[in-house]
């Protein structure tokens, strides 16, 4: 790796100030994505600030109102193993368990997980092929290149990459809130607004600014929480990123869907909420698979596959359907 300096943060406010004023400073928590980016030379910060010692940022709190609050430094494995997380929002626990490997889940943090960068092979290529995310203005090699793993929604000619986080898909489905501390104080970011579409500035994955530090993520109680499921389809059975994944959560009256939440992973630059399908699913019976399919299909009218990923259009619909049915079985 390139040479860099390392220091340890003792104080949250000072850490925020340091990041705000030093463009060459990167926070490091679990380091499982950052060190990989540095080994691929896709990130070359001159200074790292170890934030693992910051107090009170790793708690997993089952809130009295039935919601959940997870500190940004909580490790993936601890959140996935927490019994209240598993009972209240199984989709969150499952999205964590289907990610990475046992070792990585012990090291990686919740905050780092939603900040992780795309796995697009061109972005991570040390030989620096055209990539607007890595080197703004250089082009997008994936747009007309090997794009089997890339987006079918929301892409632009500047970037067709997908967001790799599984947890983000679950949090998007549950309308989580990201609590951020920045140079101007504390603010709350709705999960749907956290990650960006690539547009003409694909180098920006999310809406955070210099100095911003995620301190916690909150999920409010909702009727769909308990009957929820995460389903991930990929080339290998384990330890592989999604070709397509779905987070589904339903509230029912018997077998009839009262409300549904459905988000997809592996298909866009951010978790993809199927808002139109969610509306169409209201009142549909979980036993009427034709009606379920038809509702889901409504959200695929604007799917735009690339040269090598046309299969994702059908695959993602099937993944959404099965996730919905499994979630429904838990109601």
């Amino acid at each position: 790796m390139h040479p860099f300096a390392l220091s340890k943060a003792q104080d949250l406010a000072k850490a925020v100030a340091a990041h705000a004023t030093d463009g060459q400073l990167a926070f490091i928590a679990g380091g499982t994505d950052l060190l990989g980016l540095m080994k691929d030379r896709a990130a070359l910060p001159e200074r790292l600030l170890d934030i693992n010692g910051l107090p009170d940022m790793a708690r997993i709190e089952a809130l009295p109102d039935g919601g959940l609050r997870v500190g940004a430094l909580a490790r993936m494995s601890d959140v996935a193993a927490d019994l209240e997380v598993r009972l209240r929002f199984p989709v969150i626990a499952e999205s964590l368990l289907f990610a990475a490997s046992g070792q990585l889940r012990n090291m990686a943090t919740i905050g780092g997980n939603i900040m992780q960068r795309t796995r697009c092979a061109y972005f991570r290529d040390e030989d620096d092929p055209p990539c607007n995310k890595r080197r703004p203005g250089s082009g997008c090699a994936a747009r007309h290149g090997l794009n089997r793993n890339h987006a079918i929604f929301g892409w632009s000619d500047a970037c067709v990459a997908t967001h790799p986080s599984d947890l983000a898909v679950a949090l998007a489905a549950l309308d989580a809130v990201v609590i951020v501390l920045g140079p101007r104080g504390r603010r709350l970011i709705e999960f749907a607004d956290f990650h960006r579409l690539p547009g003409s500035e694909p180098e920006r994955d999310n809406v955070l600014e210099r100095g911003d530090l995620i301190v916690a993520i909150e999920v409010s109680p909702r009727p769909e929480g308990r009957a929820s499921h995460y389903l991930k389809v990929r080339d290998r059975q384990s330890y592989e990123f999604a070709l397509a994944s779905a987070a589904a959560a339903v509230a029912t009256d018997g077998r009839r869907i009262r409300s549904a939440r459905l988000a997809l992973g592996g298909v866009a630059h951010k978790p993809w909420r199927l808002a139109v399908a969610e509306s169409a699913l209201c009142g549909t019976s979980l036993d009427d698979s034709d009606a379920l399919k038809s509702a889901i299909a409504k959200s695929f009218v604007d799917a735009r596959p690339l040269e090598h990923n046309g299969f994702k259009v059908e695959l993602a619909q099937r993944v959404a359907l099965r996730a919905l049915q499994t979630a429904g079985a838990r109601a």
Binding site: M1, H2, P3, R41, D127, D128
Partner: protein, 197 residues
């Protein structure tokens, strides 16, 4: 031969499960230098210029070898023992034959120093279209001349077997273009003799 068919415990078992088995990279010789290969970022073409000044001045670097200063190597004698196809020896000229071909070797006191210094080398390439194997090109395949052993052999009647088969599956499989033959190499020079591990 009464060990055949018996579940014998491996003699290297204890060492391998305790971390005690020594592989090449585990052998420590005081004062070992470390080398990092700088791979070509193009698949076909040639090196127009290669500037190693920054790399040579980087901390810990002992030397940087390129086709400009690499000692000349002699191809193996007895042409019939060489592999079929072209003989290629690294760092002997400016031609690039494949993606990832070594274009420089950085030697430094630590591997981190060698690898990082490699990133400081400035290379200008003349890029030719890469050659990519496709199924359609199979008709252009040539049969190379025989060296020591016959290249073709024929056993059975494949066409007939396929025609008579109850089930025929036709698929196209692709394989990566590389396989690995890991060979650790630690070399120790001591007054006229060299020991390789």
């Amino acid at each position: 031969m009464n060990a055949v068919g018996q579940p014998i415990l491996r003699v290297d078992g204890r060492r391998k499960v305790t971390g005690g088995a020594r592989y090449t990279a585990d052998i420590s010789v005081p004062g070992t230098a470390h080398a990092a290969i700088v791979p070509s970022s193009i698949a076909n073409g040639r090196i127009v210029s290669i500037d190693t000044t920054a790399a040579e001045q980087a901390p810990g670097v002992l030397t940087v070898l390129t086709h400009h200063n690499m000692p000349r190597m002699n191809p193996a004698p007895w042409s019939h023992l060489r592999p079929q196809g072209q003989t290629y020896l690294p760092l002997q000229d400016d031609k690039i034959h494949y993606a990832g071909q070594p274009v420089a070797l950085v030697v430094a006191e630590t591997l981190d120093q060698a690898a990082y210094a490699g990133t400081l080398i400035d290379i200008e390439y003349e890029v030719d279209r890469p050659a990519v194997f496709r199924q359609e090109m199979a008709s252009e395949a040539i049969e190379p001349p025989q060296r020591m052993w016959p290249l073709s052999s024929s056993v059975g009647d494949a066409n007939r077997a396929i025609a008579e088969a109850a089930v025929v599956i036709e698929r196209t499989y692709t394989m990566p273009d590389r396989h690995h033959n890991p060979m650790g190499r630690t070399r120790r020079w001591r007054s006229g003799t060299t020991t390789a591990h």
